[in-house]
């Protein structure tokens, strides 16, 4: 939602873009599924909102641009989070401990890579709800890392049709995301 450049504190699009999306994603990322006593992701969002109206950063000339303001608020959130980390005793969940116990051997890396690919595929599929053909293509492309010819053979489609499906994928999924994913999942052959 970057259709506005100058921040207007009355604009609800900023809230959708920053508080509903960017800061929600940031809070999820900072918490990493861990718990800090009874302090939750929602509390972190609330404290960030509190800071937003206390400091009124949009009045600063360098932060009047919507993107800069979003970036600044993410940093404010990180700062509040760090303060909480220092204050409260961190309680790692059982999951995280178990993850650490797995060690860092090659097999673990391979498993981790496969699981990451599956997570990426699941996120990509959410751009195409109920489209089973696209879901299959995404699995073959991003999880099984197949070439176009292999995908065509497995899906019993012509290579041309596979190319069309891939074009649709690139058209629907935002380019910056696709570029990162293609860079991360190198093509074979």
């Amino acid at each position: 939602m970057d259709d506005f450049t100058k921040f207007d504190p009355h604009n609800n699009e900023f809230f959708k873009s920053v508080f509903l999306k960017k800061l929600r994603a940031t809070a999820k990322s900072l918490f990493e599924g861990k718990t800090y006593g009874d302090y939750s992701e929602e509390d972190l969002l609330n404290d960030t909102l509190e800071m937003f109206y206390k400091e009124e950063p949009w009045k600063r000339k360098d932060l009047q641009d919507h993107k800069n303001l979003g970036r600044y608020m993410a940093r404010v959130m990180q700062h509040i989070h760090l303060k909480w980390l220092a204050k409260s005793r961190r309680t790692d969940s059982v999951e995280v401990v178990a993850e650490e116990k797995l060690g860092t051997n090659k097999i673990r890396e391979q498993i981790q890579d496969l699981v990451e690919r599956k997570s990426i595929a699941r996120a990509l599929k959410s751009y195409f709800p109920r489209d089973l053909v696209m879901h299959r293509l995404i699995d073959l492309e991003f999880v099984d890392n197949m070439t176009r010819a292999e995908i065509a053979e497995v899906m019993k489609l012509s290579p041309r049709k596979v190319t069309d499906l891939k074009r649709r994928l690139i058209y629907v999924v935002p380019e910056p995301v696709i570029l990162r994913l293609v860079g991360r999942v190198p093509r074979q052959g």
């Binding site: 009355h10 609800n12 940031t26 999820k28 909102l49």
Partner: protein
């Protein structure tokens, strides 16, 4: 740890940073994708942000602090476009609209807003009236007894 084939929130956070860099650098497309990695539809209803604002207003109300006018405008705009089953939104929205259009000098706007955010656990005007009558009756009885 992975649950079967799924990454843990910590795993997703690591993957997101690997893909898009630190959180503050994420653009809108990256943010959308990270939310999808967490299994959240980024275009889901604005219920989440409305709840966030309501919680914020509630906290400010308890601390007897003024609610920023900018936030009230944002709330009204968001609530107008949202289909919500929670009657708190409709009631709050009505209260805010009234407060924003109140005649200046008649009653202070923050006061109107604070009043409009009363939850059910607080007394209604009817209950207050009943208590007032009871109070008067008790005082009369006490006077009579003296």
């Amino acid at each position: 740890m992975e649950h079967g084939n799924e990454l843990s929130p910590a795993g997703i956070a690591k993957l997101a940073r690997k893909l898009f860099g630190p959180e503050e650098e994420w653009d809108d497309a990256a943010v959308d994708f990270v939310l999808r990695l967490h299994g959240i539809d980024p275009d889901e209803s604005v219920k989440y942000v409305l709840d966030l604002i309501l919680r914020f207003m509630d906290r400010r109300k308890q601390e007897r602090k003024e609610i920023p006018k900018e936030l009230l405008t944002v709330f009204v705009k968001l609530a107008a476009g949202a289909e919500r089953e929670d009657p708190r939104t409709t009631n709050a929205q009505r209260g805010i609209e009234k407060a924003l259009h109140a005649e200046p000098g008649r009653v202070s706007r923050p006061e109107v807003v604070v009043r409009s955010f009363r939850f059910k656990r607080e007394l209604s005007a009817k209950d207050e009236n009943i208590l007032r009558k009871l109070q008067a009756k008790l005082l009369d009885d006490k006077k009579g007894g003296d």
